[in-house]
C-alpha cells in the first residue's frame, strides 16, 4: 500500500465552495467559476506516493501545486476528497490530532526558508522537537545531528541572517529532518537559490535520500529539477494533474501538447537513457561497417559497435562513439547480452523534437502547436530563470 494517497482532492476558495465542487464534478470549467468570484485552486487531484520515493509536483505558478501540498499536511482543509497517510485519513482529524500528526510525522521545508530570525541556528533546527516537547538536552543533541547531516556542523550558534541563502535552506532542511518525520513536504524549496547552489542542494538532497529513505513530496516549477529529483512526477496545469509518470514517460510520451511544450527546453541528452531510445538488435543486423563488413549476428554487432553501454546510460554518453562510427552503439544487460542498439540516426532524431510518433498524432499539426506552446511557455514561465537558462544547461551537464 502506498505511504501517502490523495483521493480526488478539491480546493475551492470563495463563497459556497461545496456547490462549486459539485459543478466542477459535473464538468464545469475553472473559468466559469472564476466569473462567479470563486477560485478553484485544485481540481480532482489523485495520486499515490510510495515509501522512500521522491514525488515531484511540477507546474507553473498559479497551477495549484502549493495549495495541493498544504492540503497534504492539513494546513489547508480540502473542500472535497481525502488524504490518506499510512492509511489514516488526515481530513477527518480534529485540529489537535492534526497538530499531533504534523509535529511528529510530517515536516515541511519552505520556499523562503521561513527561519525564525529571533532564534539561533540550533534553536531553529530544534524547533520541531521543542514543539514535540522533547527535553532540551535531547533536542539539542538531535538538532546538532541534523545540522551535521546537512553539512552545517559548527554553525549552531550563528543566527539565520548571518548565513547565505543556501545555508539558510540547509537549516530549514535540518529543522525538517530533526523531527524524524517520515514525510517531507518541500515547497519550491530550492527555487529561491542561485543556480549553482540549487544544483548543490539537489545533489545533497539526493545524497541524503539515499541514506534516509524519507518519503518526499517536492514542489517545483523547474522541469530540470523535477527530472533530476523525481522518482515520479506529476505535472499540474490550472489546478488539475495532467500527467503522472517518470521523467522519461513525460519526456518521451507527453500526455498532451502542454506537457510536450514543457519538455521542449529539457536537456534530453541527460534525461533520456539508452534503454529508452534503443531499437531492437535486429535493426543493426544487415548493416555494413565503413570497412565493408556486413554485420550478421549479434556477436558481430557487439564487436563492431563503437561502444557498449547499459540501458540506464544517459544518451549524452552516446554522442562521442556515434560520431566516430556509423555503426550503432550496443546496449547490453547485466549478462552482457545484446538487448538493443542505438544507431546514429535514431540518436539525432530523439534530440530533435518530442517524438510525435509515440501516440500517433499528426506530425505536421503537432509540431505547429508544440512550437507555439514552447514560445508561450518560455515567454511566460520562469521569467527569473530565463536569462540563466544557458548557464543552467551547462551546469546540468557538469
Amino acid at each position: 500500500m502506498s505511504r501517502l494517497q490523495a483521493e480526488h482532492l478539491y480546493k475551492v476558495f470563495g463563497r459556497r465552495p461545496n456547490e462549486a465542487v459539485a459543478r466542477l464534478q459535473d464538468g464545469a470549467g475553472r473559468d466559469e467559476l472564476r466569473a462567479d468570484g470563486t477560485t478553484a485552486a485544485v481540481i480532482d487531484a489523485s495520486f499515490a506516493v510510495e515509501a522512500g520515493q521522491i514525488f515531484v509536483v511540477m507546474g507553473l505558478s498559479g497551477s495549484g501545486k502549493s495549495t495541493l501540498l498544504r492540503m497534504l499536511n492539513g494546513l489547508l482543509e480540502p473542500t472535497a476528497g481525502r488524504v490518506l497517510f499510512d492509511g489514516q485519513d488526515l481530513t477527518a482529524l480534529s485540529p489537535r490530532e492534526l497538530r499531533q500528526v504534523r509535529s511528529h510525522k510530517i515536516s515541511m521545508v519552505f520556499q523562503h526558508f521561513a527561519l525564525f530570525p529571533h532564534r539561533s541556528v540550533l534553536e531553529n533546527a530544534a524547533y520541531g522537537l521543542e514543539v514535540q516537547g522533547v527535553a532540551r538536552e535531547e533536542r539539542d543533541r538531535r538538532a546538532t545531528e541534523a545540522l551535521g547531516l546537512v553539512g552545517l556542523a559548527g554553525w549552531e550558534n550563528s543566527w539565520p541572517d548571518e548565513l547565505s541563502g543556501g545555508m539558510q535552506q540547509r537549516v530549514g532542511l535540518a529543522r525538517a529532518l530533526a523531527t524524524d518525520a517520515d514525510l517531507l513536504l518541500m515547497d519550491e524549496s530550492f527555487s529561491a537559490l542561485d543556480p549553482l547552489i540549487r544544483r548543490d542542494m539537489q545533489d545533497q538532497l539526493l545524497e541524503l535520500q539515499k541514506r534516509l529513505k524519507k518519503t518526499i513530496v517536492f514542489i517545483t516549477h523547474d522541469l530540470n529539477e523535477a527530472m533530476r529529483l523525481g522518482d515520479s512526477i506529476a505535472v499540474m496545469r490550472d489546478g488539475r494533474i495532467v500527467q503522472i509518470g517518470t521523467a522519461e514517460d513525460i519526456l518521451v510520451t507527453p500526455a498532451n501538447d502542454y506537457v510536450a511544450s514543457f519538455t521542449q527546453d529539457v536537456d534530453r541528452s541527460r534525461v533520456l537513457t539508452a534503454g529508452a531510445i534503443m531499437a531492437d538488435p535486429e535493426e543493426a543486423l544487415g548493416t555494413t561497417t565503413p570497412d565493408g563488413t556486413v554485420l550478421r549476428t549479434e556477436r558481430d554487432v557487439l564487436e563492431a559497435a563503437p561502444a557498449t553501454v547499459t540501458a540506464d546510460t544517459p544518451i549524452v554518453e552516446l554522442f562521442t562513439p556515434c560520431s566516430r562510427s556509423g555503426v550503432a552503439v550496443a546496449v547490453t544487460d547485466e549478462d552482457e547480452s545484446l538487448i538493443g542498439v542505438v544507431p546514429r540516426a535514431r540518436l539525432l532524431a530523439v534530440l530533435g523534437e518530442p517524438d510525435p510518433g509515440a501516440d500517433g498524432a499528426a506530425p505536421q499539426e503537432g509540431r505547429k502547436t508544440a512550437g507555439a506552446a514552447v514560445a508561450k511557455t518560455s515567454g511566460a514561465t520562469d521569467a527569473p530563470d530565463a536569462p540563466e537558462a544557458p548557464e543552467g544547461k551547462v551546469i546540468a551537464g557538469a
Binding site: L98, R99, H104, F110, A114, H118
Partner: protein
C-alpha cells in the same frame, strides 16, 4: 434644521451612569488611587539625588554611559529648580496610567490582530478616542471620579490607548506569514505561536506603540493638572493662570526632561526586551573599539539590577537612619530645607550665638551653612549678598565704621544683647588696680604691656585712639597686637603663675566665669557707652525669610544665658561647638520654642489640631491671599490643611462631591449664582466675610470723559471695539453678556473677549504702559486699583445687580467635620483695608513666595491669628 439635543443626551447618559454605577466608579477610583499612592510613595521616598542616581543607572543599563550622565544631570536640574516633588508626582501618574494602558492595549491589539471583526469595530472607536480633544475627557472624568489624580489617570488612559492598540495589531499582522505557517506546519498550537513567534517578532513595533502611549500619557498628564492631577501639570497650569513665565519655563523644562528620559528609555527597552534588539546591541558592542568601547559599554542586566538595588537600599537606609546620623531632628519644618548662609567672627559670643542659631535653624528645617570671616570680610561679604546673616555686630560703637560704609546694603535685625562693655581686665589677685587710672605708674608691674587682640578690632582702635591718651598711658604701656586666642592664652599662662597681667577684654566673655578678673572701671567714659550686639542681615533677607527675621528681632539672651552658653561651648572643646550648644539647650528646655516659635510651636493649638481640611481656591488674588492666610493660621493652630487650585466649574463639582471641604471665595448672590443653584443641595453657606465687593468695567483714568457705562456708547473706535474680559465661565462674564451690554446698548458695538484673568491684567498693564485706552472687566476688591489709576465705570442702571458678598462655602458635611474651623469662619470678617494690604503683601512677596507675603502680613497685624482663630485656654 431641528436642533438635535446630542449634548444633553450625552449629559443625561453621563448622569445616569454616575447615579447608577457609583459603586463601580468608586471601586475604579480606589484602585487607581491606590496604585498611584503606592508608586508615588516609592518615588518620593528617596533623596532626590539618590533617585536621580537610580534612574541614571537604568539609563546606563539601557543606553550607555553618556545618556546616564545626561539623565543624572537632567534630574539634578529638576531638583535644583525645585520641581522635584512635582516631577515625581507626574512620573507616578505617567507610570500608573502607562501601566494600565499597556495592560489594556496590548491584549486588545492582539485580539484585533486575530479577529477581523474586532479590528473593524475597534478602529472607529480608537479614531474617536484619539481625535476627541483631550480636554473633553476631563469633564466626564470629573463627573465620575471627582477632582484629583483619578480623573487625570482615566483621561490619560483613554487618550494614550489608541497607539498602543494599533501598534500591537500592526506588529502582529506584520510578522511574516510564512513564519506563522512554518510554526503551524510543525504543529505549534495557536497560543504558542502567538507567544513564541508572533509576539517576539512584533515586539519592536509593540514597544514603539508603548513608547507612543507613554509620550501621550505624559502630554495628557500635564493637561490633567487642570483637574487637580497635581505634579508638573499643576505647575504649568498655575504658571499659565498667572502668566508666570519663570514658573512656566521651569515646569515646562521639567516636563521636557521627563519626556526625553521616558522616551529614550522606553525606546531602548525594546533592545533589551526583544531578542532581535539584544542581538543588534551585541553587534554594536562588538564593533566599538577603544574609547568608544567605554562609551558603549553597558552593565549587564544583573549588574544594573544590583546597582539599582544597592542604591535603593542606601536610599531606604538613609531614610531610616537619617535622623540619627546627624544627631538632630527637625521639630518643625519651617525651612523646608532652604539654605541660610551664616557668617561669624571667631569671637566667643559670635561663635556661641551663631552655633546656637545653627542648631535652632536646623531644628526648624533650614540648612544653615556656617563660615567664619574676619570683621571686614564679613561686612563686605554681606554687602555683596554672599552671607545672609550674622549675629555679632557691635553697634553703634565698635563696628561703626563698617556699618557706616555698608549700611545701605544691610538690614539691622535688632539687638539681642545690650549689656556689653569693652574694658581692660586684670586678675583679681592683682591688688590695688580697680580703675584705668590705677594703671598709671604701674607699668613695671605689667612689664609695660597691655595684651591686645586683633589689630582690626574696634576695641583696639578705641584703645589706641582714645583710652590710652585719655588716661595718659601712652609711652608707659605698649598695646600688644595679637589675636584673641593669643590674648586668652597669655591670660591663662599668667593666671596660672599668678603673675600680673592686663588684657583688653569685653563683656560678655566666658573668661569672667572661668577666672576671677577685675574689670577696670572707666570713669572718663573713654570706651564710650556699651554697644548692643546686633544681628544684621544682607538687604532683602527679611523679605526672603521673614520667619527668621522675626525670630532674630525677638531674640534676646541674658548675660547669664550667654556666658553659660559660651562656657558650655568652651567645655565641649574645639570642633564640637554644636555639641556644646546641644548640651546647653538641654539645660534650658523649651528655649528653642521660645526663641523660634514655629507655627504650632508656641502657639495655642486648636481643639481639632491634626485635622486636615481640604481647601480649594481660584487663581484670583483675593482668594489666593485669603486661602494662604487661613492655611497659615490653621497650621499655627495645629491643623494640617491642604490647598489646591481649581477653576470655578471643577471647584463646585469637587466640593459637591465632598472632595473639597471648603473654599472662601463664593461670590453670591450674583456672580456664582448658577453654580450655587445647581449644587446647593450638597453645599453649605458658612457666611460672608467681605461685603464691599462690586463688579464693574474699569478704564484707566487717563481716558477722559468715560465715567460711566453709558459713556462707552459711541466710543468703540477708541477701545477698538473690545472689552477685555476674563474666564468665560465666570458669573461676571455671563452677567455682562446677558445683561449689562444690552442695558447700555453696547452689545452691537463692543465684543467682550474671553481670557484668563491674568491675561486681562497683562493686557491692562501693557495698555497702561503705553497710555492706550483700554476697558477691562474688573471687580472690587482688586489690587489693580492700588497699582494703577483706574476709573470704575458707574452703573446707573444697576445692571450688574446688587453688590455681591464674598462668602465661605463648604461641603454640607463641613460644619460637622470641622466644627471649630466652621466657628472661626462664621465670625471671620475682613475690612477693605485688611484685604487690600494682604493682597499687596502677597503681590510684593512675588510669585512663589505667597507664604512669606502672608507671614509678613500676619507679623504686621499682631493678634490677628487669635482674632481669626480664637482658642480658649
Amino acid at each position: 434644521m431641528p436642533r438635535l439635543e446630542l449634548g444633553s443626551w450625552i449629559q443625561s447618559g453621563v448622569d445616569f451612569l454616575r447615579d447608577h454605577f457609583e459603586w463601580l466608579f468608586d471601586f475604579i477610583a480606589k484602585v487607581v488611587q491606590g496604585m498611584y499612592d503606592g508608586v508615588h510613595d516609592v518615588l518620593a521616598a528617596p533623596d532626590p539625588l539618590l533617585l536621580a542616581g537610580i534612574l541614571a543607572v537604568l539609563a546606563w543599563w539601557l543606553r550607555g554611559l553618556v545618556p546616564a550622565v545626561l539623565a543624572f544631570a537632567g534630574f539634578a536640574l529638576i531638583d535644583s529648580i525645585q520641581q522635584w516633588d512635582e516631577a515625581m508626582e507626574t512620573l507616578s501618574l505617567v507610570l500608573v496610567a502607562g501601566a494600565i494602558t499597556i495592560v489594556l492595549a496590548v491584549p486588545l491589539g492582539i485580539w484585533a490582530s486575530r479577529n477581523r471583526a474586532v479590528s473593524a469595530v475597534l478602529r472607529p472607536v480608537l479614531d474617536f478616542m484619539q481625535t476627541m480633544p483631550a480636554f473633553v475627557y476631563l469633564i466626564p472624568g470629573i463627573f465620575f471620579f471627582g477632582v484629583g489624580v483619578v480623573p487625570g489617570v482615566i483621561a490619560t488612559i483613554v487618550f494614550s490607548m489608541p497607539p498602543g492598540v494599533r501598534m500591537t495589531e500592526l506588529g502582529i499582522r506584520q510578522v511574516d506569514a510564512e513564519l506563522v505557517e512554518a510554526a503551524d506546519a510543525f504543529g505549534t498550537t495557536p497560543r504558542r505561536t502567538l507567544l513564541r513567534v508572533q509576539l517576539p517578532l512584533a515586539l519592536p513595533t509593540i514597544m514603539a506603540g508603548v513608547n507612543q502611549a507613554i509620550m501621550l500619557a505624559l502630554s495628557m498628564v500635564v493637561i490633567a493638572g487642570m483637574v487637580g492631577g497635581g505634579g508638573l501639570g499643576s505647575s504649568v497650569f498655575e504658571a499659565i493662570s498667572s502668566v508666570d513665565v519663570a514658573l512656566g519655563f521651569e515646569g515646562g523644562i521639567a516636563v521636557v526632561i521627563l519626556a526625553m528620559y521616558l522616551d529614550r528609555m522606553t525606546g531602548a527597552l525594546n533592545q533589551r526586551v526583544s531578542p532581535l534588539g539584544r542581538r543588534a546591541l551585541a553587534k554594536q558592542a562588538a564593533r566599538a573599539t577603544g574609547g568608544l568601547k567605554v562609551l558603549h559599554w553597558r552593565p549587564a542586566t544583573s549588574v544594573a539590577m544590583v546597582g539599582v538595588v544597592v542604591l535603593a537600599l542606601v536610599a531606604g537606609g538613609l531614610n531610616i537612619f537619617g535622623g540619627d546620623d546627624s544627631g538632630q531632628k527637625v521639630t518643625a519644618d519651617v525651612g523646608k530645607g532652604r539654605t541660610v548662609n551664616l557668617g561669624y567672627i571667631n569671637w566667643d559670643e559670635g561663635v556661641a550665638s551663631t552655633y546656637l542659631w545653627k542648631e535652632i535653624l536646623e531644628q526648624r528645617g533650614f540648612k544653615p551653612k556656617l563660615q567664619t570671616y574676619d570683621v571686614g570680610a564679613l561686612f563686605t561679604g554681606m554687602a555683596a549678598g554672599d552671607v545672609d546673616m550674622q549675629t555679632d555686630a557691635w553697634l553703634p560703637a565698635t563696628h561703626a565704621s563698617y556699618w557706616k560704609q555698608y549700611k545701605n546694603q544691610l538690614e539691622d535685625l535688632g539687638t539681642w544683647y545690650d549689656k556689653t562693655s569693652l574694658e581692660v581686665a586684670v586678675p583679681s589677685y592683682v591688688k590695688g588696680v580697680k580703675t584705668l587710672d590705677d594703671l598709671k605708674g604701674k607699668g613695671g608691674t605689667f612689664k609695660g604691656k597691655i595684651i591686645g587682640i586683633e589689630p582690626g578690632a574696634g576695641e583696639m582702635k578705641l584703645m589706641k585712639d582714645k583710652v590710652l591718651p585719655d588716661y595718659d598711658l601712652n609711652g608707659e604701656y605698649n598695646l600688644v597686637k595679637g589675636s584673641t586666642a593669643g590674648m586668652l592664652s597669655q591670660l591663662e599662662r599668667s593666671y596660672a603663675k599668678k603673675e600680673p597681667v592686663a588684657v583688653t577684654l569685653w563683656s560678655p566673655h566666658w573668661a569672667y566665669s572661668k577666672y576671677k578678673l577685675t574689670k577696670l572701671e572707666d570713669p572718663k567714659g573713654a570706651f564710650g557707652k556699651g554697644d548692643g550686639i546686633h544681628a544684621i542681615a544682607r538687604k532683602g533677607f527679611s523679605a526672603k525669610e521673614p520667619q527668621i527675621a522675626q525670630w532674630m528681632k525677638d531674640f534676646k539672651l541674658s548675660e547669664k544665658q550667654l556666658t553659660s552658653l559660651e562656657a558650655a561651648i568652651q567645655d565641649a572643646g574645639k570642633g564640637k561647638q554644636q555639641d556644646g550648644v546641644r548640651a546647653w539647650l538641654k539645660q534650658n528646655p523649651g528655649l528653642v520654642d521660645k526663641l523660634a516659635p514655629a507655627g504650632d510651636a508656641g502657639a495655642k493649638k486648636g481643639k481639632q489640631a491634626g485635622a486636615a481640611p481640604r481647601i480649594g481656591y481660584f487663581p484670583w488674588d483675593e482668594d489666593v491671599a485669603t486661602t494662604y492666610l487661613w492655611k497659615n493660621v490653621l497650621e499655627k493652630r495645629g491643623y494640617k490643611p491642604s490647598i489646591k487650585q481649581y477653576d470655578v466649574g471643577s471647584m463646585f463639582t469637587g466640593m459637591s462631591a465632598g472632595q473639597i471641604d471648603v473654599e472662601f471665595d463664593g461670590w453670591l448672590p450674583n456672580a456664582q449664582k448658577q453654580y450655587w443653584d445647581r449644587y446647593k443641595k450638597n453645599l453649605v453657606d458658612i457666611g460672608p466675610w467681605y461685603d464691599k465687593t462690586s463688579l464693574e468695567i474699569a478704564v484707566p483714568s487717563y481716558v477722559k470723559d468715560v465715567k460711566s457705562l453709558a459713556d462707552l456708547k459711541g466710543k468703540a473706535g477708541m477701545f477698538k471695539g473690545k472689552i477685555i474680559g476674563i474666564e468665560p465661565g465666570t458669573g461676571e462674564m455671563q452677567l455682562l453678556n446677558s445683561k449689562v451690554l444690552k442695558a447700555y446698548g453696547l452689545d452691537k458695538e463692543y465684543q467682550v473677549t474671553n481670557n484668563a484673568s491674568p491675561a486681562m491684567l497683562a493686557q491692562l498693564q501693557r495698555s497702561y504702559a503705553k497710555k492706550e485706552p483700554v476697558a477691562v472687566v474688573l471687580w472690587t476688591p482688586h489690587w489693580a486699583y492700588n497699582k494703577y489709576e483706574l476709573t470704575k465705570l458707574a452703573d446707573p442702571k444697576k445692571a450688574f445687580g446688587a453688590n455681591n458678598e464674598i462668602r465661605s462655602l463648604g461641603h454640607k458635611s463641613f460644619p460637622d467635620k470641622f466644627p471649630e474651623f466652621h466657628g472661626w469662619l462664621k465670625n471671620w470678617h475682613m475690612t477693605e483695608q485688611e484685604l487690600a494690604s494682604l493682597e499687596q503683601s502677597v503681590q510684593e512677596a512675588g510669585k512663589g513666595n505667597v507664604e512669606e507675603g502672608v507671614q509678613k502680613w500676619i507679623d504686621a497685624h499682631p493678634g490677628i491669628v487669635d482674632k481669626m482663630a480664637p482658642v480658649k485656654s
